[in-house]
């Protein structure tokens, strides 16, 4: 024991007199290891603590406090008591001793076994002996942390102190200036309020001492290491100010005053604080300030120039109204809700009668904000507003006025929808049902497209009000919609009508099935009149009607029950088009496929919908395509539109969307049927089965005919979009058939689809030897074809190679690198045509729409583009430098194709290395390269990296030179880059101002209007640069 006390003594000696800070750690370790106790350490400190030098005493206390920081957990209650008594006593010592004392006390407050009463006594001494605001920053933080610690553990004791505690806190934070400490102080204040401490007569003091910071005006210094934001302070202060209704009488006048400020952020903060505080208040708290609050909010919404302030004002109004609505339920005193709504109605209602003046919208928004607050508010407001709105509508003759009024009505219905709960309240608009329907139907019959569009959205909103419209109303509405679909030429109207019909179909599927679908079907089958005369306009309008019917059928098909009725109509169209019973143009057939695709995308994924697609639609599509292809072989009479490639390509997404989205089990079944059809000629699942047996769809066709071989794209649609959990049967046989086809077939769609299908399967094939050997075999074959100068299938081999590369790149397969090397070597190859390889990079980097994307469940790793780029940029730069002059454009093209597709962040970081190359690309003669390079540069210019600014001179020269390019697209792109340059740091670009303005005068007189438009914009930006009121 003696040895231990000497150890303690020596540590004390070295720390206090030797000023070795590290000894505090050793002492703490000694205590922890049980070599000596804290109290023994105190004894060892004896001489230092009684020294006549305040600095020595401070040093002694510091050692003790630092030891406590390490081992406050191990102290016994008795030790704590002694230590607290000691520290409290030390508070009265010289001021240099205070900091370590506070530190020690802070550590002690963390102890879980504080003896009862000690917390209170500690606080009393701190409040008595210390003037917090004359302490240094970190000591003040110490005091706040003490308070926070004690409030966590000794809540009951502190509450026993009563309002004295609040008073002590108010005194200690009064005048605090540091944002870090303010965050702590606000937290304490928030705890005081939220945990129910008694504020007593110090309520106003607590409010004063915190509200003096409102609104927070703080901008952190640059490179602030503490990372405190204005927003944090705003939120912390708001939590204090809005915490208790007791502050209402002080806070609300303050908010009214601050709302009058010229500072936008102050307005915003005041409005947001208002919205937050009233959620705690009752009507009695706000009653006397209603007039003032309303005037302030109204002013902000009527005269604002900022959308954020406007929406904050509206949100505050909603909160205030819902606060008043809550108290209506509980009090039978003066009805403050209707008083308040009266203010609003008096000031706003008359503006609604002037639909062409500016204030109609702000007024409507204010009324709607109040309306959306509660059911009672919406009853009062709609009762006051709707009759006059509807009357106005009927009295006004101008369509623009009527439209504004109708839009206002629509917003009212919408705002009420937001507040209605699911309870069995009847709709607020029940009283107006008849007149609302009348107005809507009359607007739909009006001959003005914007009025019709507005009316459809009113109709949608009305339909969504539960229990408002009667069945007869819906029927009438559907009649109107059908009529518009059939006669209205305007695209925007038919889009709006289809959307509205879709909404109605969600709510009333049965009515849509019985009323709408049969009429659309009939309409599509009526032949155009005067067919003999064959008037072009007549045919055109008939085509347009069919087009609208087709998209309307797609729009209403969301519920499976509707889908079951609508898809047979679409299939019937395809069948009649094929047989020629009714003539449909190729365009119409493509649109039909698009509609089927859209339905597959939006229908709810139920068993019913899945069966509809996998068991009916897909077999029918395959059967029709096969019939058309076989008939094409025979080629007698008019060919069916289904032999067209556009139609075939439109069928693919129908199949792939259903296979990727609907019912995986059924999709697997579809895929295995498709595989057996293509590999074995198994036609048993196809309807209208009159096909020759043993067709060999994947084998080389007789006479190299492609009408059957290209059907492989349909196979691709089904097998490449399956979820990865579903297995494709006979995959090895399938893969080798596809490889053979893609390397031998001469028809572009056939060999490309086969290559894509191969790639799609490779991408999903599980990792392993079989995959590796498959890839190696394919690569070998492709390379030998490409290397043999006499081969006739260069393009085919190259296509297969690009697609397989893409499949491997996406999944980060290690064998990808062999393919990249081959690809780079092809940049020098003349055999493929000038830019084929360079364009291949564009395909590699972009998203493909039909295979190898996430929607098809392909294995796509994140950031594969970045990875490809960072692994290969060196090769590219090297290749460029080594290439002979006439090959250099190939490298530049490849580079700009790659960089163009990279995410912007990567472009910005990679740019330094590539800038000189890109600038070189801008000075070459090739317009395509100019265009891709400019489109790489433009996004980077928005947030220019330093290296770009250093090269500004060269960049400006190149861009200005391109203004004379013969291609207008290059001139336009270059102008928009020049426009972006004006946003660079002013001191960097200002020297160029005069030169750029002079150079931009010329394109102002360009012969192309689109160029002039861009030039005007760029020149306007440059004029504003460095000019007062500009930038």
């Amino acid at each position: 024991m003696a040895a231990d006390s000497t150890l303690a003594l020596s540590l004390v000696e070295e720390f206090v007199s030797g000023l070795q800070d590290s000894k505090a750690k050793d002492a703490a370790k000694g205590v922890k290891d049980g070599k000596f106790t804290v109290l023994q350490l105190v004894e060892a400190l004896g001489s230092s603590l009684t020294s006549s030098q305040p600095h020595t005493r401070a040093r002694g206390v510091l050692l003790l406090s630092e030891v406590l920081q390490e081992c406050y957990r191990d102290l016994t209650e008795r030790e704590v008591e002694v230590l607290i008594a000691f520290y409290e006593n030390r508070l009265k010592d010289h001021y240099v001793v205070t900091p370590p004392v506070l530190k020690g006390l802070k550590e002690l407050t963390k102890c879980t076994n504080l003896p009862p009463g000690s917390a209170v006594s500690m606080l009393r001494s701190v409040f008595q002996d210390i003037h917090v605001q004359s302490l240094m920053l970190s000591e003040r933080a110490c005091v706040y942390s003490m308070l926070i610690n004690i409030m966590e553990t000794r809540e009951a004791e502190l509450k026993g102190l009563g309002a004295d505690f609040v008073f002590g806190f108010v005194q200690s934070m009064d005048g605090e200036r540091d944002p870090r400490n303010l965050l702590l102080a606000f937290q304490i204040a928030k705890n005081l309020i939220h945990r129910g401490y008694e504020l007593g007569k110090f309520t106003e003091e607590l409010f004063e001492v915190t509200s003096c910071y409102f609104p927070i005006d703080f901008s952190p210094p640059p490179n602030d290491p503490h990372g405190i934001t204005r927003e944090e302070l705003v939120q912390a202060l708001r939590a204090v100010l809005t915490g208790t209704p007791n502050f209402a009488e002080f806070l609300l006048p303050l908010l009214i005053e601050k709302l009058d400020s010229d500072v936008q952020s102050a307005k915003l903060d005041s409005l947001q604080t208002l919205a937050a505080c009233v959620s705690q208040y009752e009507h009695k708290h706000v009653a006397e300030f209603l007039q003032g609050l309303w005037t302030a909010v109204r002013r902000e919404v009527f005269q604002t120039s900022s959308e954020r302030i406007e929406s904050a004002g509206l949100a505050a109004l909603t909160a205030l109204t819902s606060c008043l609505s809550r108290s209506v339920l509980s009090s039978d005193s003066e009805d403050s809700l209707s008083t308040f709504l009266d203010f609003i109605l008096t000031d706003c209602k008359h503006h609604l009668c002037e639909p062409d003046l500016k204030l109609v919208w702000p007024s409507a928004k204010l009324l709607q904000a109040a309306c959306s607050a509660s059911t009672s508010a919406s009853h009062i407001i709609t009762a006051a507003v709707m009759p006059s709105l509807l009357e106005q509508y009927n009295n006004r003759a101008q369509c623009s006025h009527r439209r504004t009024l109708l839009e206002v009505v629509q917003r009212f219905i919408h705002s009420v929808k937001n507040c209605q709960s699911s309870d069995n309240d009847e709709s607020v608009f029940l009283a107006f049902r008849e007149s609302l329907c009348g107005v809507v139907f009359s607007a739909l019959s009006e001959n003005n497209s914007s009025l019709q569009i507005t009316a459809t959205s009113v109709l949608t909103s009305l339909a969504q009000q539960a229990g408002l419209l009667l069945e007869s109303d819906i029927e009438l509405a559907l009649d109107h919609l059908t009529r518009l679909l059939l006669i209205e030429e305007d695209d925007r109207v038919s889009l709006a009508v289809a959307e509205c019909a879709g909404a109605l179909a969600q709510l009333h599927p049965a009515l849509v099935i019985s009323k709408l679908i049969p009429r659309l079907k009939n309409e599509m089958y009526t032949e155009p009149m005067n067919q003999d005369q064959g008037e072009a306009s007549e045919l055109h309008s008939h085509h347009a009607v069919r087009q609208r019917c087709l998209s309307a059928l797609a729009a209403v098909s969301i519920q499976p029950s509707v889908v079951q009725e609508s898809t047979p109509v679409l299939l019937e169209v395809l069948r009649s088009a094929h047989t020629g019973d009714v003539s449909f143009s190729v365009d119409e057939v493509v649109l039909t496929c698009r509609s089927l695709q859209r339905i597959a995308e939006q229908v709810q994924d139920t068993e019913e919908a899945g069966r509809c697609f996998h068991n009916i639609i897909i077999p029918h599509l395959l059967s029709l395509a096969l019939q058309a292809a076989l008939q094409g072989e025979g080629s007698s009479g008019t060919p069916s539109p289904l032999v067209e490639e556009v139609v075939l390509s439109a069928m693919v997404p129908v199949i792939s969307t259903s296979c990727s989205r609907l019912q995986p089990t059924l999709a697997g079944q579809t895929a295995s049927r498709a595989v057996s059809l293509f590999l074995d000629g198994d036609v048993s699942f196809l309807p209208d089965n009159s096909f020759p047996s043993h067709m060999q769809l994947l084998k080389k066709q007789e006479g190299d005919s492609w009408s059957l071989s290209r059907l492989v794209c349909l196979l691709m649609g089904s097998v490449c979009s399956l979820p990865r959990s579903v297995e494709v049967p006979q995959i090895d046989k399938l893969l080798s058939a596809l490889e053979e086809m893609s390397c031998t077939c001469s028809h572009p769609l056939s060999y490309t689809s086969a290559a894509k299908c191969f790639a799609g399967l490779v991408n999903k094939k599980p990792q392993g030897d079989s995959l590796d050997s498959l890839i190696q075999r394919t690569v070998k074959r492709v390379c030998s074809e490409l290397d043999s100068p006499s081969s006739s299938v260069h393009t085919q081999a190259f296509t297969l190679m690009i697609w397989v590369s893409k499949a491997l790149l996406l999944r980060y397969h290690p064998l990808f690198t062999t393919l990249t090397d081959k690809l780079f070597s092809l940049l020098d190859d003349a055999g493929l045509g000038p830019m084929a390889a360079a364009d291949g990079f564009s395909l590699l980097m972009s998203d493909s729409t039909d295979v190898l994307n996430r929607a098809c469940h392909a294995d796509v790793r994140i950031m594969y583009r970045q990875r490809f780029f960072s692994e290969n940029k060196a090769k590219l730069v090297q290749g460029f430098n080594a290439a002979p002059q006439e090959k250099k454009p190939n490298y530049l093209k490849a580079l700009s194709n790659i960089v163009n597709k990279l995410p912007k962040q990567v472009q910005v970081t990679e740019l330094p290395a590539l800038l000189s190359l890109l600038l070189e690309a801008l000075s070459g003669p090739d317009q395509d390269i100019h265009l891709t390079t400019l489109s790489c540069l433009e996004p980077v210019l928005v947030n220019p990296p330093q290296v770009l600014i250093q090269q500004l001179e060269a960049l400006v020269n190149r861009l200005l030179a391109l203004l004379c390019s013969p291609a207008m697209s290059v001139r336009i792109a270059s102008l928009s880059c020049i426009s972006a340059l004006s946003y660079f740091p002013v001191h960097e670009v200002l020297p160029f101002r005069a030169r750029v303005l002079r150079a931009l005068a010329k394109p102002l007189d360009d012969k192309k209007r689109l160029v002039r438009r861009e030039a005007v914009q760029a020149r306007a930006q440059w004029f504003l640069l460095g000019s007062p009121g500009g930038r």
């Binding site: 102002l1004 209007r1009 007062p1028």
Partner: protein, 159 residues
């Protein structure tokens, strides 16, 4: 414009904005020469901000396409604008903004004439004279505070 001050016309009539110009096939054809026409000039000035309201001159009907006359061959442009109220004190400023916008956006071969629609403003002649006087326009743009207001009218508004 401070929020506290009363506006001269707090509740003006609002007009609908016309849509963007529909792009035609000939505009995309490299070889066709597109002449500068009325609509193109109107598109230049319709988005100028009003000095008082957060609205464009088009929405306040201060400028209309029918009051824009251009002759590309003879290189002349004539614009008439209509102040919202006959004693609008901002008329000169609006005219100046239109003039400056056109000076910046048109080739310098054009002669630009901006004046008030006849009979719509109390001091029509005085304003027209000011706007027609090259020296005075140049002098006005030397004035930093005036230039500041003009530039604000010509800036694209950010919300």
């Amino acid at each position: 414009m401070s929020e506290g001050t009363r506006l001269e016309n707090a509740n003006p009539v609002i007009f609908q904005r016309s849509g963007d110009r529909v792009q035609t096939a000939s505009e995309e054809d490299e070889d066709v020469h597109d002449p500068i026409d009325d609509r193109e000039i109107f598109d230049l000035i319709r988005s100028i901000n009003d000095p008082e309201h957060p609205l464009s001159l088009e929405e306040l009907n201060v400028v209309e396409q029918v009051r824009v006359k251009v002759n590309d061959a003879e290189s002349t442009v004539g614009i008439e604008f209509t102040p919202t109220i006959p004693h609008c004190s901002m008329a000169t400023l609006i005219g100046l903004s239109i003039k400056v916008k056109l000076l910046r956006s048109l080739p310098d071969r054009f002669k630009i004439d901006v004046c008030i629609t006849p009979g719509t403003h109390a001091s029509e002649e005085a304003v027209n004279k000011q706007l027609a006087d090259k020296e005075r326009v140049a002098a006005a743009l030397e004035n930093a505070s005036l230039l500041e207001v003009v530039n604000q009218c010509l800036s694209t508004r950010s919300i």
